[in-house]
Amino acid sequence: MQLAVWTYEGPPHVGAMRVATAMEKLHYVLHAPQGDTYADLLFTMIERRGKRPPVTYTTFEARDLGKDTAQIFQDAAREAVARFNPQAIIVGASCTAELIQDDPAGLAEAMGLPIPAIPLELPSYQRKENWGAAETFYQIVRHLADTSVTRAPREGRKARANILGPTALGFRHRDDLVEIKKILSALDVEINLVAPLGATPEDIKTIGNADFNIVLYPEIADEAARWLERTFAQPAVRTIPIGVGATRSFIADVAELAGADPTPALGDTSSRLPWWSRSVDSTYLTGKRVFIFGDATHAVAAARIAREELGFEVCGLGCYNREFAREIRAEAARCGVEPLITDDHLAVEDAIAAACPELVLGTQMERHIAKRLGLPCAVISAPVHVQDFPARHSPQMGFEGANVIFDTWVHPLVMGLEEHLLTMFREDFEFSDEAGASHHAAHSPRKAATPDPVSEAPVEDIPAPAMAEEGGTLWTAEAERELKKIPFFVRGKARRNTENFAAAEGRRQIDLETLYDAKAHYAR
């Protein structure tokens, strides 16, 4: 048994729902008790979908157990096919139905339905949401793909690609797709199929017609892409075009497989991140300490952008999906940090507090952690909440995605010029630290009028190292006063560094001298 308060991923059948909801004319018959219908609200409320997910829940009750739950499943499946008229159904069990072992696959097969019924085996007590989505997409492709298709020779036609991975409830999948289509159009590559998002079972049949695949979200599409590689000899582009550098590599990879000229796509004049990052106002971004946590794909991409395109220092990197831990380990090694592979949000919270970052990039969970620690935060990965499904176009991928990322990550920080002004005016009697930066009052750390454990804690309240807790206040009054003269947004870090330095040096007291010795020690 594992004690959990919040979870990064839902159960695997929620992953299957993300695939089913993304597709058209596919229906999911899910053997499940009442209550499991809660998952509908993820799509209708968080993603604001105007349609119910195409899922029929069989809704068995305690008194049905050991009697006619199998019959209930078959009735529900028959009714769903008659009512929704799908081109195919997927059938499976949620955690409770898995225990009663009704075998939805066998039951559906025995019914002789007029359409394909694709069985899903999603072990709820071992696997999680992303795995469930990947397995579901793979099973759909494997069952429906027409393996008899032969591609016409490449001469005299455009190269054709499948775009694989976007689902319902994905972080910015809708907008990423627009950017990817733009790139393919500039490369004169034809899109054979986008799946799961918007694809019908009939469309999936033709998946073998493409010359190659583009795996946008490996967490969801990699399993299927590997099968397609074996079955149709379709190579895959696996570069994730998040960030300017990655987008350039992606364009080069696609161009190579398509035999196209990458120049027009590379010359996209709307790519602004490079200049925004080089412009002098951005100098202050240099070496900002950033803690990154999310799904592996987005976390790795964020770490590269942070280091190479914004000049940040990555002070922590991790992911919650163990399946992709290898990618995180490799990137963490490049960043020189210990990788954090965990789905325990309390462990993530501890790691963030210990790392003392100036910016947190994470999921909805890290947004809450950062809020409580009084740290600026931007969201880079699922799971996300309703505010991360914006009305405006807001991709992560492609050059426009990099533009969006620049704005989104830099916005929560104090602006460059303003940072200097704050330093200049901090002695002014009319200047108050607690006012924070001018452009985002909602984000700036403030002292709550009444201490409230739920609301954001001021920066200074980051848990101090053990020595301070043991020995009480080590700071001399003079050093404490000096510390207050440091602007609030770096004060927590200064306190922390000084205490670590004092501990390492074995100093029993932190006086002015220690404070400035530490400053020299940590000088960048």
């Binding site: 008790p33 209550g35 809660y38 409320m45 409770t96 225990l99 809450h368």
Partner: protein, 434 residues
């Protein structure tokens, strides 16, 4: 609901012999678009501030709680899930030992917990994990510091608010005994927001009824006493099992309308006043200011709701009393009133005011019910979060049912707030020009 009323696992319009001659009920069986009883934890843990709820279940249970809570509001709320894993099910470890380990670790980390509820879920019920035994065993270790109780919030047994019923029913056996010779005491049953509870307590104090207890108490370790001289008022219509458990300890129910709106609240307070021998004139005098305030507040909202047609999809069991209030006090027209479970005895007086054309339905076959909504085209439909946006997408105005459970809606001073919950979506519909 007895099994005999649901014959073939499909929608069945079956007539029960008694009483249904005048009031037929459409009984349906199919997909239910409702939460399970675990959801009650979201408000119960706020109400009982020294209690912790540990769901023994699956990843789905944990995901439900965080999704239904809407946002992860609290860093470490007073609930959690002990997620069962493959090795618990495959018998590689003893699930009871694992539970001991998890509970001990939890109680170590959270010394503020005084009452711990082990909450059963669908998977724990299916594998017949005996949580009563676990509660007893762990209780023997941790009492008196922590009292450990158990109930089931599983979706195979409970619907949404039935989770609160099961939780309160689990508290009844540990309520102290009120001796047979003790003076009569009033017990208010059903969790209410503190502000509403205080309003009611003031009303009863003004009537001279001072021996008043509340179940649940704000502190789960300070439960009110119960005995043959306990007279209880149900504040919520979904507490059938709790009522039965109280009757089992000798308490007697005061029959009344549920305290929604001016008339519901008046009837509820009057019934208690009569039971406690309060002078009728004094009762009216005490009720008058609240009635007047509510009347004024409602007079502004009535024009917005009068004549509007409303359908309730089954959700919280609050449907019948709320429908009565909206019809009688705001002039709304009831099209369909669906409820997950119809407690005939507790709702008898509420149902009296329904006209013959009101379609009353129990249980759910969500597809057929939505067909009826599309055919009826009510001005407003009360439904769960999974259905609200899809219905709005079809041009039907909706009200999320869950807000009715989370908001203070009982009593005189909330009557207009309750009406506003229905008026706002209608006003918004008229306001928007996009």
């Amino acid at each position: 609901m007895s099994a005999a009323t649901l014959l073939d696992g499909c929608a069945a319009e079956l007539a029960r012999p008694e009483a249904e001659a005048q009031r037929p009920v459409l009984r349906e069986r199919g997909q239910r678009e409702v939460f399970c009883g675990l959801t009650g934890i979201i408000w119960l843990h706020r109400k009982m501030q020294d209690a912790f709820f540990l769901v023994v279940g699956s990843r789905t249970c944990a995901h439900l709680l965080q999704s239904a809570a809407g946002v992860m509001i609290f860093a470490e709320p007073r609930f959690a899930t002990a997620i069962m894993e493959e090795r618990d099910l495959a018998g590689m470890v003893d699930a009871q030992d694992e539970l001991d380990r998890v509970v001990n670790r939890l109680l170590e980390r959270r010394p503020d917990i005084r009452t711990l509820f082990l909450v059963g879920s669908c998977p724990s019920e299916v594998i017949k994990l005996d949580l009563a035994k676990a509660a007893q065993r762990l209780g023997a270790v941790h009492m008196p510091r922590v009292r450990i109780l158990n109930y089931s919030g599983s979706g195979i047994e409970t619907t949404f608010t039935q989770g609160e019923d099961a939780c309160l029913a689990a508290l009844v056996p540990v309520m102290p005994a009120l001796p047979a010779e003790a003076p009569a005491e009033l017990l208010i049953v059903g969790s209410l927001p503190d502000i509403v509870e205080d309003q009611f307590l003031r009303l009863f104090a003004d009537l001279g009824i001072t021996r008043v207890g509340c179940l649940p108490a704000r502190n789960a370790r300070e439960l009110p006493a119960v005995g043959p001289n306990t007279r209880y008022l149900l504040a919520q219509p979904f507490l059938g099992d709790t009522a039965m458990a109280l009757e089992g300890r000798g308490a007697k129910r005061i029959e009344a309308l549920f305290p929604f709106g001016v008339e519901g609240t008046s009837d509820w307070v009057r019934a208690a006043a009569r039971e406690f021998g309060v002078d009728a004139a004094l009762t009216e005098q005490v009720l008058a200011p609240g009635r007047e305030r509510a009347r004024i507040a409602l007079s502004k909202l009535r024009p917005q709701l009068e004549g509007k047609r409303i359908s309730f999809l089954p959700d919280s069991q609050l449907e019948v009393p709320l429908a009565r209030y909206l019809q009688d006090e705001l002039g709304m027209e009831l099209v369909e009133v669906g409820t997950p479970y119809l407690h005939r005895a507790h709702l008898a007086r509420e149902l009296e005011s329904f006209g013959p054309n009101v379609r009353l339905s129990e249980g759910q076959h969500v597809e057929r019910q939505l067909d009826r909504v599309r055919a009826d085209r009510p001005d407003i439909t009360v439904c769960g979060l999974g259905l609200a946006n899809p219905l709005e997408g079809e041009g039907l105005t909706t009200k999320w049912a869950i807000e009715l459970v989370f908001s203070p809606i009982h009593g005189f001073d909330q009557a207009a707030d309750l009406a506003e919950l229905f008026a706002r979506p209608l006003r918004r519909r008229d306001l928007l020009e996009v």
